[in-house]
Symmetry: C2
Subunit: 74 residues, 2 copies
């Protein structure tokens, strides 16, 4: 099983996402606070992380946040 | 176990997120394509979904997308 890392920066969205998502996952997750561990920002960037919160799984990056408006689908 | 629903609209980000995230979850997920099931947009809105892709778990909404730039953390 490869490493799964959750990168965040302590923001409300980050904390909410962590609380909601991590208990649902079927694998262990390393939680990295980039605000407190800034040397690891380069590691996150190398993994393809463009924003936080983000989950990196098996080399794939999943960005969590608010995106396009649902109104656009109507 | 309450219902877990993944709302999406067939966009590349949606498909990528679905492929990356759903296999990691320790519960069954209903996948709803809002572009093809537009009557369910109201249901998604009522659940608090503001954008897609989004995962609704136990009444909590998790929006998946690209957000704030990582550069802001440097």
């Amino acid at each position: 099983m490869s490493k799964t890392v959750y990168y965040h920066a302590g923001c409300p969205v980050c904390v909410e996402a962590e609380r909601a998502l991590l208990p649902l996952l079927n694998r262990e997750v390393e939680v990295v606070h980039l605000g407190e561990q800034s040397p690891r920002v380069a590691e996150a960037e190398a993994a393809g992380v463009k924003s936080v919160p983000a989950l990196v799984v098996d080399g794939q990056v999943l960005h969590l946040n608010f995106g396009a408006a649902l109104a656009d689908l109507k």
